[in-house]
Structures are given as C-alpha cells and as structure tokens.
C-alpha cells in the first residue's frame, strides 16, 4: 500500500546508514535501534510451495528435493498447469501459452498426480564413485588417527598369539581401517558422435528451445521433449536483530497466515512523518511544506524536531527553528493535559497527529530534499517487558534519535 500513500517520499535512516521507507524498517526493542532487512539477519523459517500453498519443514523439503510433488509448471512459460479431463482421462494444459502434456508425448492418465519427470541416469554410477571416494578418504585419514594415538608397546594385541580369539577382532578393525580397494573402472572416453547423427535425433519442434527452458530442466537433453517441471519450494523468512539475536518479525504458523507472532515494526516506535499537502514552490522565495507527525506508539512522546543544515547540495535551506512538542499516544483517551498551543509552526493538533509548517528556500536544481533530525523520549514502554522490572526511569531517559529525508519535489 506504500504506493498509494506515496511513502517513498519520506526516508528514514537505518542504523546501517541506508535510507529506507519507514514501512520497510524494524525496531529492535533490546538495543533500541532501527534495523532494515539488509543489516538484520534473515533466516528461512518455513518452506512452502508457492502454487498450492502447502507447507513442508526443512528436513522434509530436503527429502522432496525442494520441489512440491503435486503441482507442476509449464516448461515453456513457467506458469501453473490446470487439469482438464477428456473421456475421464486427465491431461494438463497451460492457459497462458496453451501448451498441452500431449505435446510432450505423455498420454492422458487416470490419476492427476505424479506426472513423469526426467530421472538422472548416471546416479548409480555416481554412487559407486562416491563409495569409492569414501574408501579412499578412510585410507587417507587412517594413519593420522593411529599416529597420534599412543600404542602402548608392551601389551598390544598385535603380538599375542591367537589364543583368545583376539586376532579376529584386530583383523576386523584393520579391515575397517584399510578397506580392500577394488579398483573402480574409469569411465572410458568415447568417440565423438558425428554431426549428422546428433542432428537427426534432435527433437523437432517449430519453436526454438530457449535458455530458460533448458536450465529449468537440465536433464532433458536436446533429443527429448520437455516434460512439466515440478514447482520449486520457496522459503518464508523471519528477521532477527544481528546484534542481540532477538527475533524482530516472526509470522504465525501456517503458510497463509498474515498475522504475526512477534512483530516490531518501526512504524509503532518511531514518529511517522508525512507531507500533508502537495508542496508549491515559489522559486527563491520562502515556500512552505505542511508535515503531519503521527505517534502510533503506545506511549506519549516528547519530540524535538530540528532541521539539519545544508550538508548536500540538493538539500534545502530551512529557516524554522527546532520545535519541541509532546504528542499523546493513540491509546490513552484523556487529551486534557495536552497544551493546545498554536504557533505559526504548529498548524493543527488532532488526538495523536500534529501538523507542522516548515518554510524553506528551494534551491536552483529541481531536486529539493528536506533533512530533519528527530530526538524523542518515551515513557519506557518501548523496552522489553523482561527488563521492565529494572527501572523505567533508566529506560525512559534514553533519548532515541532518527534522521529523516523528505523528498519535496514529485
């Protein structure tokens, strides 16, 4: 929804120095820092299939080779295939590019699941190579173990005659350490196929096979038709603050959950600044911008806004002095205690929203940015409930800072 509210206009500075929308930032309540997805540590907490929204845990996904079993995609345009029946036999059709499973020579089936997929024929050969390498590895590591293990000279089973059947146990141990190495046959190099042979068993089709289709199923060689592709699983992420390892965002269990078990959006801890009306520029005369500041947190805040000087050339020279205001939070209803002062800077005051008027001198280039720095204190409700027991003064005395850049031109 950031598009409609044009939230790209106001950028907040994250602790890693990058400027981002407030809706993309998170707030760590332990180290009182603003975190973005770049500098926080993002992990996968659940793998799910994006087409049929079916969840699978990490070990199970590894077994299924990170592919969902019952939804398949069209090899031509990577779109979902929908089932159709003809005299109660199933076949699949892609409604975006009308590719059909009949094209790939797969005749209709009675069960709509488990469509054929190319298997890797060299797997058995590769397993033999792997076992052979494992044996080589054991041989390579074996002398190291025995070298650093002190073999007591006098009393060792190697010299004893085979009286108590020790010899067979030692023999078995040596057998395990030095497996008999059956030499694995080299995969013999072969003559290259002539061009004509390779060409005429090439799969004839009116459409050229593109690179994306090949890398989607590398096992389909050029003389075989393209089969439907199994949908790869996608990861759903949870975000943890990298300094204090606390989870910032964790979604509810279940793929389609959009609620959050733990959520620390920066929106609820940092005052939300927005431009209230489009800005009119009278060039090189002081023009005004009306900013609304909303306090969505759960504690009233004392806020000091001070425009920053012109450090970059596209920044705008702002002449309003720093403003000290206190904004009630949206929850407590008694607004009596709030001073209803109205000065030329404070334009209007709603329950938890304040309209501030800044006048600035637009610069020559058509790029106008207004840099503000916020310092605000809260009544300690930001901290974690755990350390609530310590002392809320220490928590509430902590001054929180945030830098903001407002894009005035459109």
């Amino acid at each position: 929804m950031s598009a409609l509210l044009q939230s790209f206009r106001v950028k907040y500075e994250c602790s890693c120095g990058k400027f981002r929308n407030l809706s993309d930032l998170h707030f760590c309540r332990q180290c009182f820092k603003i975190k973005c997805e770049e500098c926080a540590c993002v992990e996968i907490d659940m793998l799910y299939c994006a087409r049929c929204l079916e969840a699978s845990t990490v070990p199970e996904a590894r077994l299924k080779k990170n592919q969902c079993f019952n939804c398949v995609e069209c090899p031509m345009c990577m779109n979902i295939l929908s089932g159709r029946t003809e005299n109660d036999k199933f076949f699949l059709i892609c409604q975006a590019c009308s590719w059909q499973t009949r094209e790939a020579g797969i005749e209709d089936r009675d069960s709509a699941k488990k469509w054929p997929v190319y298997e890797n024929e060299i797997t058995n050969e590769m397993n033999d190579v792997m076992n052979h390498m494992k044996k080589l590895e054991m041989i390579q590591n074996a002398p190291k173990d025995s070298k650093n293990r002190k073999i007591s000279k006098g009393w060792s089973a190697h010299h004893l005659p085979n009286k108590f059947g020790l010899q067979s146990m030692v023999e078995k141990k040596r057998q395990m350490m030095f497996p008999d190495l059956t030499p694995l046959s080299v995969h013999e190099p072969e003559e290259p196929l002539s061009l004509e042979e390779e060409l005429e068993n090439r799969y004839k089709s009116k459409n050229l096979r593109t690179a994306d289709q090949i890398i989607r199923q590398p096992l389909a060689s050029s003389d075989q038709p393209l089969f439907p592709v199994r949908v790869p699983l996608q990861g759903r992420t949870s975000i943890r603050c990298d300094e204090c390892e606390r989870t910032l965002v964790k979604r509810d269990y279940g793929v389609v959950a959009y609620k959050f078990k733990i959520s620390a959006f920066a929106r609820e801890y940092v005052p939300d600044i927005r431009i209230s009306r489009p800005v009119q520029f009278e060039n090189d005369k002081t023009s005004h911008v009306l900013l609304t500041i909303t306090n969505l947190s759960s504690s009233p805040i004392q806020l000091k806004i001070s425009p920053q000087e012109k450090s970059r050339d596209d920044l705008v020279e702002c002449s309003t002095p720093p403003v000290n205001i206190s904004i009630p939070c949206s929850i407590d209803t008694d607004t009596a205690g709030v001073p209803a002062e109205k000065s030329d800077v404070i334009v209007f005051r709603q329950h938890n929203r304040i309209g501030l008027n800044f006048d600035f001198i637009p610069n020559q280039s058509n790029e106008h940015f207004l840099a503000l720095s916020l310092e605000y204190t809260q009544n300690g409700s930001f901290g974690l409930l755990a350390d609530k027991s310590q002392n809320t003064e220490e928590a509430s005395s902590k001054v929180l800072k945030a830098n903001v850049i407002v894009q005035l031109h459109n």
Binding site: I122, P189, P192, R209, P218
Partner: protein, 433 residues
Amino acid sequence: MATAQEKLESLRAARRSSSGVSAASILSVSSSTLSQAISSIDNGKSAVIIELGTKFTKLGSAGETTPRAILRTEYINENGVKIDANEIFALNDRKKAAEKPVEYHENIISQFFKFLFLKALAPTDRPFIIVESVFMSIDMRNAITKTVLEKLRAKSIMFMPTHICSTFAFNSSKALVIDIGHSECVAMPVIEGVTMLSEFESAHLISGKIIEQRCRELLKEHGQIDEINGERRGLNDTDFEEIDSNNLIETIAINSICIGKERAQIWKSGKIPEKELLKEHVFAMNGKNLIIPPIVLETPLEIFFDASLNTQSFDKTLPQMLFSIVEKCPIDLRKSLLSNIILIGGVSTICGLKSRIKEELIEICQNAQKKYAEDVRFYQFSKLKNYPLFGAWLGASLLGSLRETVERKSISLQDWKSGKLAEDWTDIIDKNV
C-alpha cells in the same frame, strides 16, 4: 526401501502432530534416487555446493547428482535496477574494482547471495563449498567468505578449483580439461589429481559472449524481415530492440551447431552447400516475420576455428590452443593426453563441437608431423547430454559427500575472525598441508 519410508513417516507424524496442515502426499521414490534419500537423511546437514558462473549459477546440496536450481547470475535490487554478472564479479578484474570502494562490491555480493538462498535452500549452519575458477582474485574470495560466514551464518566454507572437480565424475587419472564458459575459455591438463598449472592456456575469444556477438553480426548481415504487405527488407535498429527484448540472440546461440571444416569453407566462399542440414527458421513477432537463414545457425562457431575472423586479438584458435598445451606437456604425457579430453561449460553442449575439434586436431598434427592425435576421444555421458552445463558442480557435490575432508579443508567463522584466510590451492603447494 522401508527405512526411508519409515523415516519420512516419523518426520511427517512429528510435523502433523504440531500443525493442522494437510499431510503431504506419499513420497514416491524410484530406486535410483532412494540411495541419495538415505544418504541425505542420516548425515544431517549436507554441504551446500555453489558454482558461480558468469551466466548461470548452479546450486544444490552435496551427494546429489543434479543441482537443485540453475539460476541466471543477475538479480533485481530493492529499487528495481537489474544488477548483472559483470557487476557481481567486478572484484575479479582490477580496473573495474578500483572504481568503487570494496564495501560496495561486498554489498552487491551479499545481496546476490541472499537472493540466491532465501528462495530455496536453508543456508544456516551448513558447510559451504564454492567451485571457483582458478583465476578468482583474492579480494573476491574474501568478499564471498565474509558474506557466507557472517551474513548467511554458514558453518564453514571451502573453495574448490573447477578443473579438478570435473575429473571426479569420470574417476579419470589423466585428463585435459577444457572449460568453455560465457566469458572465457580455460584449458588445463589435470594429471593424477594435480593441476598442471604451468601448461594452462586461456582465451577470451572462445566464449559464449563471442558466439552471441557473432550471431548478432550474422543476423544483421543475412537476417530478413517479412513485412505484412509481403516485401522483404534487411534488419534495422528497431528490430534489434525487439530481438533483444525477446532474448532471441541467446536462443539462436544455444540452438546453433558446429559444422564440418569443408562445409565451413563453402559457407565462407559465399556459396550455399547443396546438402541441407538446417532449414530456414521463421520467428514471428508483432506482425513481422523474422527469417533466420541457416547460415546464422551454422557458422557462429567458426570464430573458434578460423584465425582470419578474430583479427583484433592475439588469442589462439581452439585447436591451436590444445596443440600448444600438448607441446608444453612432459614427453610421456603427450601421446595419451588428447585421448582423454573433458569438455565442460555451457557452450560445450552445442552439438557437432566435439567432432569438429577432433577433425581440426588431426589436421594440425598432420601438418606438424606429430603423432599426438591418433585417437582423439572425449569423456562424455551418452545418457546425459546436458552434463557439461553442471560438470564442475557435480564433481564438487561428489567431494562434498566426504564429511571429514570437507571439515579439514574448510575454515569456520572463528578462524575467519582470527584473521585466517580461506585456504587457497597455492597454499597446498607452498605449505604442502
């Protein structure tokens, strides 16, 4: 057969008790993939294998024979700009790396890795194996190590050169490995597991990029467009924009073939050979028909073999390169080297390439009166034609299944924090660890 089934049932029962989600469908495991299923269950976290190519990145887990995903080496960053391969690998060449600070490149690499991993593979605390080309620069390796260990919090990281990896799959003791990638071609003999570094040859003119340039020139020269009202005309720039938007040049390059020497001479002399191999291909796009004559599909690879075409650079042609490698080799290897050639890289899946290399090698050896090219043979899997696409990755995956060697040769976060650099294959020679 039963053990995997029980294991999966126990996994699913544990999961079903903790969630109301519908039970996953029964795992139908054909016998050949079953052994991997077992091997991937019991050794817990298997290693993650990545091969960073300039065009495609292959990633998957150890012990498996096909990569989990082959993705293009590009991604779209947060403000919608597409970052492509030569920005990700900017650290590799000094000129481009000097323009921007190192953190900028490290940031790009970390964004690219996050884009790769947060889609599918859970990277946390799993060992990483990165298949790198022999000439990856030192600060590129450190940037990758920093990203993988600190940002993705992997257990450990280890680098493997591509040429050794590709010999594991064939269990061959003696091989001449030619890696024709998208940006360059590097050929090196690997004898008894030792990369003969002194006899390496590399050429920038033998690569996928050059084929695509050749296809574009040939298309500009010979391509024709059928307007709707029937008149045929050559191609102009607006057509090329449409061609680029449909990524057509890459499709032509992949579907091109490598023809015999005498047929190439006929094409070169301008005549059309009578035996027709490929028909004319028609590609229709918004109202116009683009006619792709067979010459565009048959002759882009001539630049590998015909010295007269690459006038600007001094690189050798492919057969001359192989011949000079054999010449540099010690005397006892020369006889048998050309009968154990391994071709890897995306370009070597083009059909007809192997037979043309053999024909050219025989011709060169006759001119030089040398008897190296008696029987030119290639290591290949007849049942898996797209094997060269992920040849090096497969070797690394085989090595990744050996748990102790992986632990011994890779470095972990603590070593990285204590200043130890990722092990380089030159350290092995210097310190013969």
